[in-house]
């Protein structure tokens, strides 16, 4: 394989190029994995409630920032009956972790959390349940205590929802969650279940008309409309583009150096009848090989980055995925092929313009 031999001619340079491409791809893959995971798991949390309508404060960029006053909840309940479940969600800054997700749910919803051991907290108490990931990280069992909100709470049970976001957090009765988060009299979102699914559209219109401070949406559309995720998505794309062009520069530079060193050889090949495309095809094989090695190394690096973030106290347990989905991996390979092609544009232009006589004279 000629292109492999060409790559191995300058091992150190090839390794540096692969690492350069790998760093860009690792950042891209890690950021995409985190963003996609956050969106997917948030959607899963909402979907688990089987709600038809989700209501949040108007203009809130995310459920974490949404504020709904108790009187609006009462009015919603009066309008819709007991089909309304308020939820409190927020993050607690603790010494042992600076981003602990706390979910406050009505007592009626507590049994929905799959208890692995212990029991649900009693109404009006200051006890909590914790997810398996958090229990594992802190080495806690049911009956133990956990430092929360400047005090400590008894862990009545340990649950598993199969969702890293929820399993890395704490669940409490809604009143206790409001107290811990300092959100007394407020909730973040309300989930509405409707018996007659045909009424969903009309009810949404009625809620939005009667409650100008609220925004009701079909639950299926809710996650896609979270402004924070759209902002994160834009940020992710920007990071991806910067990484992409950074990697492009590294690979282009390597190809230009290789071409400069081998100009006379290109002249020889043209003199024996090679058209420019054949020379470019050889460079393309080198470019694709370097980039694919970079993609594999980059995905490996991304897993290490995710594992590192997962163990970091600065990030909440369960927020970060520990694996890369096949779609993200395949996407990174697609991006890599594009990278190899774009990195080749400049060298290919040089080859097309190269005079064989000049190339043969090249020192």
């Amino acid at each position: 394989m000629i292109f492999i031999r060409n790559i191995l001619r300058h091992k150190l340079r090839s390794i540096m190029t692969i690492l350069g491409a790998a760093v860009g791809i690792a950042i891209y893959v890690a950021v995409v994995a985190i963003t996609n995971n956050l969106e997917k798991e948030t959607k899963q949390v909402i979907d688990d409630y089987n709600a038809d309508i989700t209501v949040q404060g108007k203009g809130a960029p995310s459920p974490l920032h949404s504020r709904i006053k108790s009187e609006d909840i009462d009015a919603l309940k009066a309008m819709l009956g007991n089909q309304v479940d308020p939820l409190v969600v927020g993050a607690l800054r603790e010494n042992w972790n600076s981003y602990v997700m706390l979910l406050g749910v009505p007592l009626s919803l507590l049994p929905r959390f799959g208890l692995l051991e212990g029991s649900a907290p009693l109404p009006g108490g200051r006890d909590v349940m914790i997810g398996t990931i958090l229990a594992q990280e802190l080495g806690l069992k049911a009956g133990g205590s956990i430092p929360l909100g400047g005090g400590s709470a008894i862990v009545t049970g340990i649950y598993s929802m199969g969702n890293r976001l929820v399993d890395g957090g704490v669940v409490a009765d809604i009143a206790e969650a409001q107290r811990l988060l300092g959100k007394e009299g407020q909730i973040n979102i309300a989930l509405v279940r409707i018996r007659n699914k045909g009424e969903v559209k009309n009810l949404i219109r009625d809620i939005n008309r009667r409650f100008p401070r609220l925004n009701a949406l079909p639950t299926a559309d809710f996650v896609g409309n979270i402004r924070l995720f759209r902002t994160i998505g834009t940020f992710t794309k920007s990071v991806a583009i910067i990484c992409f062009f950074g990697s492009c520069l590294v690979v282009t530079n390597t190809l230009l150096m290789a071409l400069s060193e081998r100009t006379r050889e290109v002249g020889i090949l043209m003199a024996v009848g090679w058209r420019p495309w054949l020379v470019i095809r050889m460079l393309l094989a080198e470019s694709v090989t370097l980039c694919l090695c970079g993609a594999v190394a980059g995905n490996g690096m991304a897993i290490l980055i995710l594992k590192f973030l997962n163990n970091s106290k600065a990030v909440g347990f369960g927020w970060i995925p520990v694996t890369i989905s096949p779609a993200t991996f395949l996407g990174s390979l697609g991006v890599t092929i594009l990278l190899a092609l774009i990195a080749l544009i400049w060298p290919a232009t040089i080859v097309y313009k190269l005079s064989p006589v000049e190339a043969l004279r090249h020192e």
Binding site: R264, I268, L269, M270
Partner: protein, 221 residues
């Protein structure tokens, strides 16, 4: 009828006041072997580059088998189908084995991998290098590289073989051996051969000698 006609060929390079070639004309029969002799810088390499269609003349024309070289299609097509070139410094591609170097002109012709390999080995055997086929050029001697270059020039059975100081980088015995090999193989193919050389002993083995000086032909030696 002449197979190769060089008619009033001139070449002036940009940024150079002198003419590298000044209206050169000559013709060659099919299978004829001509040595072009003259001092360095007299225009031998320029003449060969123009005949190979590596460069374009400022004026004049080259006819091969009655057709201008431009009528054979793009320059690379003419080069791959009609011409074999042996360079002064063997000019091997360092990332390719001898067999791959020899087979390189066949890639340009779209010949399949197995056929390329078979023909490359056959031509390397013909120049006594079958046992070196899978060596990289830096692992063989200068004489062996130049023999491989001869095999590369002959692999497409070209109508024209151009050799620019093919023995210039070798000692006299190795140079003579390479030259004899090239002549023998070319005669087998029936190729028309033009050799640019300083070496009069080598030139004497050709059918005819053309002498050049300052971009012009002077009377045959």
């Amino acid at each position: 009828m002449p197979f190769l006609i060089v008619d009033q060929l001139s070449k002036k390079y940009p940024n150079d006041n002198t003419n590298a070639l000044k209206g050169i004309s000559f013709s060659m029969l099919k299978g004829e072997i001509v040595a072009v002799v003259g001092p360095s810088g007299c225009g031998k390499s320029t003449l060969l580059n123009l005949i190979e269609y590596l460069d374009l003349p400022t004026s004049g024309k080259i006819l091969v088998n009655g057709k201008p070289v431009g009528d054979y299609g793009p320059a690379h097509t003419f080069r791959s189908k009609m011409v074999g070139f042996v360079f002064q410094y063997h000019h091997m591609v360092s990332g390719m084995t001898l067999a791959e170097n020899v087979a390189a002109p066949l890639i340009a012709q779209g010949v399949g991998k197995l056929e390329r390999r078979r023909r490359a080995l056959e031509h390397l055997e013909n120049v006594g290098l079958g046992h070196r086929a899978h060596f990289l050029p830096n692992l063989v001697s200068g004489g062996e590289r130049q023999r491989a270059a001869v095999a590369r020039a002959l692999i497409t059975s070209p109508s024209i073989i151009l050799a620019d100081e093919p023995t210039g980088n070798l000692d006299s015995s190795a140079g003579e051996a390479v030259f004899k090999l090239m002549l023998a193989q070319s005669r087998l193919n029936g190729s028309t051969v033009i050799i640019a050389t300083h070496n009069l002993a080598i030139a004497a083995m050709a059918d005819r000698i053309i002498q050049m000086r300052d971009g012009e032909l002077i009377s045959p030696v």
